[in-house]
Symmetry: D3
Amino acid sequence: MKPLVILNPNSSQTVTDGIAASIAPFERFGVPLRCLTLAEGPPGIESQKQADLTIAPMLRLAADQTDAGGYVIACFGDPGLHALRDQTRLPVVGIQEAAVMTALTLGQRFGVIAILAASIPRHLRAFGAMGVRDRLAGDRALGLPVAALADAERSLAAMIATGKRLRDEDGANVLIMGCAGMAHFRDRLEDAIGLPVVEPCQAAVGQALSLMATGLSHRTERNNDA
Amino acid sequence: MKPLVILNPNSSQTVTDGIAASIAPFERFGVPLRCLTLAEGPPGIESQKQADLTIAPMLRLAADQTDAGGYVIACFGDPGLHALRDQTRLPVVGIQEAAVMTALTLGQRFGVIAILAASIPRHLRAFGAMGVRDRLAGDRALGLPVAALADAERSLAAMIATGKRLRDEDGANVLIMGCAGMAHFRDRLEDAIGLPVVEPCQAAVGQALSLMATGLSHRTERNNDA
Amino acid sequence: MKPLVILNPNSSQTVTDGIAASIAPFERFGVPLRCLTLAEGPPGIESQKQADLTIAPMLRLAADQTDAGGYVIACFGDPGLHALRDQTRLPVVGIQEAAVMTALTLGQRFGVIAILAASIPRHLRAFGAMGVRDRLAGDRALGLPVAALADAERSLAAMIATGKRLRDEDGANVLIMGCAGMAHFRDRLEDAIGLPVVEPCQAAVGQALSLMATGLSHRTERNNDA
Amino acid sequence: MKPLVILNPNSSQTVTDGIAASIAPFERFGVPLRCLTLAEGPPGIESQKQADLTIAPMLRLAADQTDAGGYVIACFGDPGLHALRDQTRLPVVGIQEAAVMTALTLGQRFGVIAILAASIPRHLRAFGAMGVRDRLAGDRALGLPVAALADAERSLAAMIATGKRLRDEDGANVLIMGCAGMAHFRDRLEDAIGLPVVEPCQAAVGQALSLMATGLSHRTERNNDA
Amino acid sequence: MKPLVILNPNSSQTVTDGIAASIAPFERFGVPLRCLTLAEGPPGIESQKQADLTIAPMLRLAADQTDAGGYVIACFGDPGLHALRDQTRLPVVGIQEAAVMTALTLGQRFGVIAILAASIPRHLRAFGAMGVRDRLAGDRALGLPVAALADAERSLAAMIATGKRLRDEDGANVLIMGCAGMAHFRDRLEDAIGLPVVEPCQAAVGQALSLMATGLSHRTERNNDA
Amino acid sequence: MKPLVILNPNSSQTVTDGIAASIAPFERFGVPLRCLTLAEGPPGIESQKQADLTIAPMLRLAADQTDAGGYVIACFGDPGLHALRDQTRLPVVGIQEAAVMTALTLGQRFGVIAILAASIPRHLRAFGAMGVRDRLAGDRALGLPVAALADAERSLAAMIATGKRLRDEDGANVLIMGCAGMAHFRDRLEDAIGLPVVEPCQAAVGQALSLMATGLSHRTERNNDA
């Protein structure tokens, strides 16, 4: 059985471990899940420039997985999503895109909990490219300094506060965690806010396994010239 | 293991059998798949009136499945989707909504192969409610009389012709089959047209199993008053 | 002269009486106005499920009016609007759709005073299907428990407060009452808020009478197969 | 009973007579209908410049009608619509806006039969300002030289051909006549094309009478400073 | 070298002087800049009616500039923009349109500082016609009485406060000054708010000079019948 | 006087020479124009993958221009646009974005002449991110094999044919050349098609010089943390 390869484009093994824990519920589906850390990536991706610079090494890392059955790009921002689709005919799922598509089926207006304010314009460009801006309730940042993100309880408290603003001020009825590998917070966020919370890596792995099971891809074997 | 219940709101066992065949690739995921035919439904759903009139008996049929772990409504048009979400906290997936969300990740502009022209305004209202009209390349009907749909080869030929128009005139780069239970045509459609083709029941079951695996739903146990 | 039939899909005669009072100004136009209560409906419609379940008996009630010249569906949410249009070639107007179309000509951004928060996603789906989301300033609920709605003064005060938030926080310059049969509040709302307030039954009856006068319908006698 | 004043901003009495005939079915509603020709207007309005230059004299003509109960601006393009709303608190309806709002309730995608190709960008700007571009199927011109418009049969034949293209190529299921005063063609257009056809002056007068009956306006007596 | 003609459609020479100062940085490009005041205009334009009534005299003033190489209409609201484009084949730039197009390249969501609340619906119609409503963060007025606008420091303070609300409450990351001739405030606004601030006359003159340099216009010599 | 640096991210000096010729009309504005070829780029950019892989070397090349006063990224697709904006506070203009914003002021619906069909989904994502999809008439490819693009007359003929389809079938009233450095075709395209044709490098340089003249940028000196 060919594995699903999950690519973390930052260099933090802690984040990769969090991603692996997030997607553990899918192990029962019988497809090996291989989570990889991009050694050449930055410790965290905080700008479009950093995101774009991960693409070249990530494409090489992806190409090295010669037994892959599909890919997930596990960074909210989906760096290199379409570049990797140019490189392979296997299913390629971005966690941002998958999270949005999942959220659209769980509530009428989605809210995004962004880690950093600087990411929001990037998100909005992506939502515009997806054509789903009408469904966006709001995209709000935690308002914490980067250093504070290492403090789990402080981060969770900020996520809860941000989620409540998205619910109460912006009218969101479903939330997306704008980050990878924090599924361990999902239950507590749902408990505190009372809305469904989409963890993007879960959304992406679920979709990738579905595509692999049905042989569906952006580019089939038969489609040579599109 | 609680089963995923797939509800065919028309009364045609042939269609239900086709749905069961469509989703067979998901059996390996380990969740029982229970396909049910709505005895009170019409042989085929051809209008908004017929669709709406299936809702009451379908809600009863769904409620009777007391061991369900989730539901799929297997009619392109998603009759009763939000009504069933009002009735249960379990995941409820509509095949139309799931097909669209899947298609949005496989191509920039999606085309829909509608069985009947009369369904197109209904589809457009749904795509508007989903907020994805900007991504729609076109929605075209087969142009066959209803009686001719029983002729498989003629139907397939019409689907191929319709798909090619969506590709060449409307600029679609991914297609959705606007019907349930015809996954056996998917490969030949992809071969003939050279674009990925989304079969809605497959898209919906993949998503439902993903939601069930991660305990995600439109309405969680903790969300009593939303 | 064939009557315009106004169908209240809930079972509350009080609401029907309110509707009749709302539309009394149209009596001078010379067309009989027949307001009917749906005995099989719930006392009030609070969910998509309840709305959908009124469709079957409402279609029967409509069909029983063999002398009808046109129909208005008098529930904000327009349950069965397209189903009834499938059933008859006479003009069929939904109060939600008519209210929105009227509001769009009275101000650049419309606000909706919803009775219940649970209705808002339903409204948003409808506005999306109408393709008018760009014109929506906001949709806000009264924030009252259902029991409190029987208290007219308390309801009016909540409507005024809600309307002022729509005006001041959301930038609405025209308001829609998201309910049927409360036209007696309209003047006081306009006085208090200083914006035009659309009462949906009035908007719908005005449009239905216009369609009847000019022989215009979604489906004309000559249009047999569309 | 205060009259509804219908302002034809071109100087053609023939057009005004056509408008009067179009709206004759509303006489039974009991409100006097006063159709006026703008002597200072051009024989026909063919550009934005011509449209804009009618505004000053039209505002004066409107102001002269001191007994008016409401206004309709009877040129497809709605010149001076918002200027007249600045000048008076009475209901002011534009035939383009009213036709679009009516069409949106009669079909999912509307097509516009434009008299001249040069008008189409003007229409598109208006539909954009109305926020209804997603509902537009197409806007197509007759393709006749201006001189040929005097030939009724040739004009009708071009309208029918244009309407069929809007139906068959663009997917329109409701049509709007992009001109004033040609209601006498409406029946034959509907017969030939099989779609509902909205005559804009009828749509506008119906809406204006409804507003007048219920005392609704863009600007109420109480709204002094908005 | 043919001059670029900048038309101020109000009658205030002070405003024209402010415009001239705003665009002085473009003098180095070598094209004469001719700023004209419309004697027939109102002292300031506060309504759609006032805006529309400037069109006729402005078109005459424009036509009198027989040596013009291009035009800028220097009123936020772009009165007569398309009328002047009907009158001439030279480049015609509106400051509102140019400011929006410039802002769209400087930030993901633009905010507009309106002088008067009554202008906001007019702005929204224009942004709708431009098709850019999805990019609008907000449009907020200063909240000052007209008389107070003569007080420069009070106006600047209100602009700063308004800009901060657009940034903090509405999520704007670029601002547009919704007025002409106040470029002298631009630096202090940028300093106080920390966002790029587009002065519309600068945006328009820059674009007009670019069009003139490359011989580009809405209507070329060769395009006789479009 | 600091130069404007125009970065051609492909390695073709012929293309760079074409760009330099395109923008020669701006030399009279007095700012040095420095056109650079990216040695590390591919001979031509034909996919998202190729586009993304130019970003890293292009950012280095940009950083090496320590005397720069602003930048233009001269590839239709704007690779690295936001990454370079992360790297510098100077004005950064992408030719695709500038061409679209210019076209929006010259016609109501813009058409794009794409060199390769494979680029169209990339364009559509960009137009979605820009929020201007409602204004797009169509995006059509030349339909030539890559080898044929070296044949200037054949390319021009294909551009003219493509432009006419955009005009006649899609309703475009302004066109954009979806490539860099072909300004020498612009006059003949305009002559043949009768619509204004935007050459993207001209649009971008005009805008960049305007921003430089007025000290306007996405990120000002004062904006340290946005």
